[in-house]
């Protein structure tokens, strides 16, 4: 679901940025006002779950791959606005350091995965929580919210891909950017997400939520007490996911819409000019790999760098945030 560079026209990217800029501004204000300073670093750990979940590629019907995002999970633990900020920063690290998702298309990726996914997922979760109480209600709500949220994000992503050949073509009618119209992009993306990737999102969300609620109940915004000792199991889970992330390499093939230009040319018979001649960011570790060394080594190093960066960023944010005075204490 990471839209690469040049698959969307610059004007589409600009619209996505224009939509996301006020959202990021509101998210930053809400996090600053509502999240206690000692809880901000925990959002970084939650963002690490999202980062790692996105590294576990799963084979989808049609020979492509997909992944979970864990956006609903972060929204349940910390609220949808902190989730928006956390996933945006995880996506920024992926785009800048690992070339996963484009820099120009960063706004569109955030719109799909950092805004639509957590907000829809959290709304459905809240609606179900109101009707079904207790632990069961929470897990059912999380599962359904995660499934619908991921599919809503995938649908929006497919529409963004699909409108490109309708809006941007050259004189001969050939597409300039993504060559597949809505009639192809929507079924192709939704087939994989409605069947396998959605279930993977449910598995990650419900599994991690159940683990966190039993092993570290104060991990989340609802419990205002922050004890360092109680988060050791959560950190252990992050370390275990880092160690296990090379499993994501078992799924071969590209995700839908994330092909190289040569592959697109082979599939549609021509290389769209915007795609072939567009600007491309030179990342530190393209596709989470380096040189001729085993892919798993690059994958694990990438996971470590990504997780550490997320934790550092949110700890620095917590350090920069002014501590609020609670006059009720």
């Amino acid at each position: 679901m990471h839209i690469p560079e040049n698959y969307l026209s610059p004007s589409t990217c600009a619209v996505a940025y224009a939509v996301m800029l006020p959202i990021w501004r509101i998210a930053a204000k809400r996090v600053s006002a509502e999240v206690p300073r000692e809880k901000v670093p925990l959002i970084g750990i939650a963002a690490a779950f999202s980062f790692l979940a996105m590294m576990f590629n799963i084979p989808l019907p049609g020979g492509t791959t997909g992944h979970a995002v864990c956006g609903t999970l972060i929204a349940i633990l910390f609220g949808p606005w902190p989730a928006c900020l956390a996933i945006s920063i995880a996506l920024a690290i992926q785009a800048v350091f690992f070339g996963d998702g484009g820099i120009l298309s960063f706004g569109a990726n955030c719109l799909n995965m950092a805004f639509v996914l957590p907000f829809i997922g959290h709304s459905i979760y809240s609606a179900i929580r109101e009707r079904v109480g207790g632990r069961r209600g929470e897990l059912i709500g999380a599962g359904v919210g995660a499934y619908v949220g991921l599919n809503a994000a995938a649908l929006l992503c497919a529409i963004e891909f699909g409108i490109q050949p309708l809006l941007f073509t050259d004189a001969s009618g050939a597409a300039l950017y993504c060559p597949y119209p809505v009639s192809v992009a929507v079924p192709a993306m939704m087939l994989g997400h409605l069947t396998v990737a959605g279930l993977a999102e449910v598995g990650f969300t419900v599994g991690i939520l159940a683990f966190v609620r039993s092993a570290a109940p104060s991990f989340g915004i609802e419990d205002r007490s922050a004890s360092k000792a109680s988060f050791a199991p959560v950190l252990g889970l992050v370390a275990a996911l880092v160690a296990a992330c090379p499993l994501g390499l078992l799924a071969t093939g590209d995700a839908w819409g994330e092909w190289a230009t040569e592959d697109v040319a082979e599939m549609v018979g021509y290389a769209p000019s915007g795609l072939a001649d567009g600007w491309e960011w030179s990342s530190l570790m393209p596709d989470y790999s380096v040189g001729a060394l085993p892919e798993w080594a690059g994958y694990m190093v990438s996971a470590m760098i990504g997780v550490a960066l997320l934790v550092i960023v949110f700890r620095l944010v917590a350090q920069a945030t002014k501590g609020a005075v609670d006059f009720d204490v």
């Binding site: 530190l284 380096v290 470590m304 620095l316 350090q319």
Partner: protein, 272 residues
């Protein structure tokens, strides 16, 4: 002519269009004050060892080896391995120490990218990224060793390595005085900026005076510290107890890590 106009002298009746020349003190207020404020923040004498921290010797040896190997590495993967380790260690630092490490290493990487901007514009962004990563790693390692090591442990280590007492005293005094001198320079420059109103060339010539004040202050502080140490029986020799730096299991872990890094470095150098 009205009576009140008659009383006013003629020179006072001449309309004047006084427009003061815009004050220009950006050289003082932006450049020099910024430099000295950075100096004032350059505190290297307030590190603290953690509960599971290895001895200063192990940290310094591991840190220097990492810096050396990172600088020599031709394989980018080695640098990324070290970067992953450095980031993992930094993420566990206390908040203030983390902020200092992030600021210092981020500034170093940013400066490198700036210096390498022509290479990026000429189509070689990988060299700029590689050098910036190396700068970030090296500066971060130095700062992590600094913020996780008590200054007395560093003094101890230097003595154990056989460094002459006078050299240790000089380093010790320099580390402790650099912040005070930065603050003094900042205060004098602020006074200069406040007193010198309007545009004049004397502002820049006063820089020599600021330097002189800081130099005098440095000399006086060093003399005071030295006198105080003499009063407390310091005779130029640092005596260290052997049991103070006995290695423990964190040092063994450091040694293992060092061996792994060396092996990885040698292997990766061959792969290229």
């Amino acid at each position: 002519m009205r009576p009140d106009q008659r009383d006013i002298p003629e020179w006072l009746q001449t309309p004047q269009r006084y427009q003061p020349v815009a004050d220009r003190d950006s050289f003082v207020s932006r450049n020099l004050l910024a430099v000295t404020s950075v100096l004032a923040r350059f505190r290297l004498d307030d590190g603290h060892s953690g509960r599971l921290s290895p001895t200063a010797g192990s940290k310094v040896v591991l840190g220097l080896t990492c810096i050396l190997l990172t600088s020599l590495a031709r394989n980018h993967l080695f640098v990324l391995f070290v970067l992953a380790g450095v980031l993992a260690r930094a993420s566990l630092l206390p908040p203030r120490a983390l902020a200092r490490v992030a600021a210092g290493s981020g500034a170093a990487a940013g400066l490198t990218l700036l210096v390498m901007a022509p290479a990026t514009l000429l189509g070689q962004p990988q060299s700029a990224l590689s050098l910036a990563t190396k700068s970030l790693v090296c500066v971060a390692i130095t700062l992590i060793v600094s913020v996780t090591t008590a200054p007395s442990d560093l003094t101890h280590l230097l003595r154990r390595m056989g460094v002459p007492g006078i050299a240790i005293l000089t380093v010790d005094l320099a580390l402790r005085s650099i912040v005070c001198l930065g603050e003094t320079a900042g205060e004098v420059l602020a006074a200069l900026s406040l007193r010198s109103v309007g545009r004049n060339r004397r502002k820049q010539s006063s820089m020599g005076g600021v330097g002189g004040v800081v130099l005098l202050k440095a000399g006086r502080s060093a003399q005071d510290t030295h006198d105080a140490m003499r009063c407390r029986g310091f005779d130029g020799e640092y005596r260290v107890a052997r049991h103070d730096m006995r290695p423990g299991w964190p040092d063994v872990a450091c040694l293992v890590l060092l061996s792994l890094l060396l092996a990885l470095f040698l292997y990766l150098q061959k792969v290229i």
